[in-house]
Symmetry: C2
Subunit: 605 residues, 2 copies
């Protein structure tokens, strides 16, 4: 009979069933691009939102800002293409930083990546649901519930052990690429045919005065940098490529960069020429879509593919986060439960943790994750910078030909991403970047605490100085409330584990001790009964004192306390009995030389 768990997540899989599939370039592009491409669904809107405070007149700044972002994208893609060659078995920021920069930078990278995975899920799910609520405004008030539902479905699929199968990704990703190009091109064509919508008046070309303009440009640029998130996916997953691995991965990386750049530029330009502005309840993409194609079949199709690619982006994190936590846990910086592979050959604890954390962020943010995006961007650029800096060291130590120009290339990447990190962190400091700047050191501190704990435990449990396995001498103390089947059952067990058994009872009702002892002797002759008087009606204090005395006066290695208990047939019936056994157990838990055992009698009715 399958258990509830098996019905939900499927039958257990043998370790031997684990295998890796190898991907062609076309398949790999589908698998690794959803995170990066999906950011085009909200990056343009972030740029415009950053400019809203300065009035619609400043929206024109979105154009130079997006060209700067595309330039930055090209530097990052070029730098990363070198990581692919150097780390054909997977070059995530944690791995690269650990090997080249040492443990502390690696932990900083790990913290930034963990934060980013959680934020990816929250941001992608919220943006995916926004694509749907833009099309069906009546769903807008249910957006938190819908986000949670989306996260739960993806989490469930991953607990079942969904593989990053090309089959699953190819359809939605290629459909989205087609849809997004069609949207960008259609919108630009439409605007050139009709009268071009110029931003409502302004100074000259609609640009505000310097140096205010420079500051605004930096704001727009910082916000738009979220378009770069996910670009590192190819480097993380490089081991999945068909040979020649590095070449295929590089090609894929550049194709992905090209698609991302053109889509982001196209959508931003189209939004600009149509004079679109962010508004609550409908995304920029949906506005552009409605304007270009009307509210018909094409509109709904594009909204649906947008949602699909965003949900796939969330799914990507559900593959990446548990893998990363398992690496970190194997290095003993996270609880080892994250390294346990579950029934279905997935790291279930990591999946559940990620789903819960992302769900909490969505609830906390009320389904509006706009505020989370600055955090997200800061984390991504921490990882970029560490990864590129690690590559600089890698080439320095390497013997490869052309190591100098390669080092220079990665140095440019490291410098640029570090500069962008400083810009984003400063511009967005009050908008949430401070949270990441506090959280990263906090995570690192926790990592180090955990590592130190495991080290201590292994030292203390080491058998290096262990003498030999002895047999202990021990006395058994059996607290009995009176003569009943539970007490006598415990006595029978007690006599089987030691020749030294003492029964003890607490006399709360002021009965004659000798009468109690005589009655006892009628049942068990060879075990003495000690009667403790309790003028204050406490059961536990006299018992604890007696156990202490036995422990200190008798020359034992250990004292066993044997509690007779009975288990009622129904759970609620437990409430009808005192919990002295439980309390005694709690009080004795701290004593190193005491072993506590319950002998339970299960009641039948």
């Amino acid at each position: 009979m399958p258990s509830l768990k098996q019905l939900l997540v499927g039958r257990p899989l043998e370790t031997a069933e684990m295998h890796e599939q190898k991907l062609s370039k076309k398949a790999a592009l589908a698998v690794f691009s959803s995170d990066a491409l999906s950011s085009t669904a909200y990056a343009t809107e972030e740029v415009l939102l950053a400019l809203t405070a300065a009035g619609a007149v400043s929206f024109a700044l979105s154009v130079p800002a997006s060209f700067m972002i595309v330039g930055l994208l090209w530097i990052v893609v070029t730098s990363y293409s070198q990581t692919l060659e150097a780390y054909p078995t997977g070059g995530g920021a944690y791995t690269v930083a650990k090997e080249n920069l040492g443990v502390y930078p690696a932990l900083v990278g790990a913290a930034a990546l963990l934060i980013d995975y959680v934020l990816t899920v929250a941001v992608s799910a919220a943006a995916g649901i926004a694509a749907i609520t833009s099309a069906f405004p009546q769903l807008y008030s249910h957006r938190v519930g819908l986000c949670l539902l989306a996260i739960a479905v993806v989490m469930w699929a991953n607990l079942r052990g969904v593989r990053e199968s090309a089959a699953m990704f190819a359809g939605p990703v290629y459909l989205f690429i087609v849809a997004a190009y069609a949207l960008g091109a259609g919108a630009l064509l439409k605007s050139s045919g009709a009268s071009v919508a110029v931003p409502p008046s302004g100074t000259g070309m609609g640009f505000p005065a310097e140096p205010f303009a420079l500051l605004l440009l930096l704001r727009a640029f910082s916000s738009g940098c979220t378009a770069l998130t996910g670009i590192e996916a190819v480097a993380n997953g490089v081991q999945a490529f068909e040979p020649p691995v590095s070449r295929n991965a590089r090609t894929t990386q550049f194709i992905l960069g090209g698609i991302l750049a053109t889509l982001f530029l196209g959508i931003t330009l189209a939004a600009h020429v149509h004079g679109l502005a962010p508004r609550e309840g409908e995304t920029i993409l949906s506005q552009l879509n409605r304007l270009t194609f009307g509210t018909g079949a094409i509109y709904y199709f594009i909204q649906a593919t947008t949602m699909a690619i965003l949900i796939l982006a969330a799914n990507t994190s559900f593959a990446g986060f548990p893998r990363l936590t398992s690496y970190i846990a194997m290095d003993r910086f996270l609880p080892r439960q994250f390294a346990n592979m579950g029934d279905r050959l997935v790291f279930s604890n990591g999946i559940i943790f990620l789903g819960a954390a992302a769900g909490a962020l969505v609830v906390f943010g009320g389904g509006d994750v706009h505020r989370l995006i600055p955090l997200y961007t800061v984390g991504v650029f921490v990882a970029f910078t560490l990864s590129q800096a690690g590559m600089v060291i890698h080439w320095k130590r390497s013997q490869a030909s052309g190591k100098h120009w390669r080092m220079a290339l990665n140095a440019v990447g490291a410098f640029t991403t570090a500069l962008v990190l400083v810009i984003v962190a400063s511009v967005k400091f009050l908008h949430g970047a401070w949270i990441v700047l506090l959280a990263v050191p906090a995570f690192v501190w926790v990592f180090l605490k955990i590592r130190r704990h495991y080290f201590r435990v292994s030292t203390e449990l080491s058998v290096a100085s262990y003498d030999r396995v002895r047999t202990l001498k021990h006395t058994v103390v059996v607290p009995v409330p009176g003569i009943n089947r539970a007490s006598l059952g415990a006595l029978e067990y007690a006599r089987s584990i030691s020749p030294d058994v003492i029964a003890v009872t607490v006399n709360v009702d002021g009965e004659d001790p000798e009468r109690l002892q005589a009655q006892w002797a009628g049942w068990v002759e060879d075990v003495p009964l000690v009667v403790l008087n309790s003028p204050y009606r406490s059961i536990l204090r006299p018992l604890l004192r007696f156990i202490d005395e036995v422990e200190s006066f008798r020359n034992d290695d250990v004292v066993t306390v044997l509690l007779p208990e009975f288990v009622p047939a129904r759970w609620w019936e437990r409430l009808l009995h005192n919990q002295n056994g439980l309390i005694l157990r709690g009080a004795l838990a701290l004593k190193p030389k005491v072993v506590v055992t319950s002998v339970r009698r299960h009641l039948q009715r």
Copy 2:
């Protein structure tokens, strides 16, 4: 060093320190009257609230309604005076009904009384706080917090073992009596001097047309019956009187009845002649007070004594409820924890339960307990009726002189209170009376379930058919994760409790079983190690299957499973280790022939 508990509730008291004080009539009046007299603080307001829906024109009906209530009061007082004679050791509804009517009516009475005690605390605390917030309206928005604070203070005093000392009661009670008479008389005098405030127009004397008037009158009467609550306190506490007990108690009962009747009538008449109407944020009593004495020292003094007597009324329940639950628990109809006397010679569990339940009602009702009053009245009249009906049977069986007229007197009481119960339950059915009519049978059902459980347990634990105390044969199974100090420590203990020990390990990592066994033999030669393979990486399932096999194939009385555990030095460190021990313990808890023991190693750092 005193514990936190001792600092809060005081040092433990010996059982021998228990004693009862005997009260003079004057002292007894103070002790037993607070509950009854305090209801004058809100009964008039309830009458007027019942009439509000019909408009101010109907307020004149408050006068005949209050005369009816006083008539009813007199019948109840006379009936109860007979209970005092028949039950000089205490004649609560539960006792009287149990002795004369049998177990089911007694349980109905018990249920009604328990509900009433909880409601008394909630209603009195809320009315006491209303007296204060009427004087200081700026506190009105904090009324829920203030109610909870008042309940907490009274609960704390009772956990310390506050005695129902005459000294504590006499001051506030007599001050309240004086203050309330002064208020009634002052208000009536003032109205006769000034122009009498006539209700703003209406038909004739301000009475609405029949038969609507009759219905309104019944509503007003039903609401005002809350004035009778608490009148049974003398009968419940009769054993505390000085001899001659019955005579003193009777005199006190009649004096209490007289004071209650005159105060209630006076306040209702005064409110009527001044044309007062209920309004949010200020009680009728406070309005009358302000009108009569102005907002000066006298006003604040009267409000303060009103609050004091209401808090004392709540305190009365804290003495009565735990005493009643202990009686019921001794009869095995409630969990026996209610019958355990605590450190300070009070039934702490009852006190805590009462405080929590009343606090929950206050929070649930938002500090406005007007809605609770119908529930309260229904419960009181259930108890009155059962008590009086019990007295009828008592006299029927009695040999006392004059038993016939005494029986007749109680019969009148029983009939009248039953009639009022039907009226109140009908009129107030939709206002909450239905809750009591559902809750009472539910309580009785729970009482009977509890009683049946205790009976079954005592049967199953009985040693009547127990053969003799044997020594058991048992095998010890020690699941070990590997060779470390915790495992070897558990092995040492295992060898001391049985000659038959088997160590078992689950091979998740696919290591060579023979290599593991060879390594093991290097440490412990005389205990075999069984290696279980686990292709699905589960630790628990193979272990449980193995324990089942040991249990079924070996000819043992019991299998002991010995879990090596280590206890980290800091609590949070537990999260860093798997909880397999806990889960295994849970899975084994249901097997009757398995004893589970943990051998803990306490880590030092």
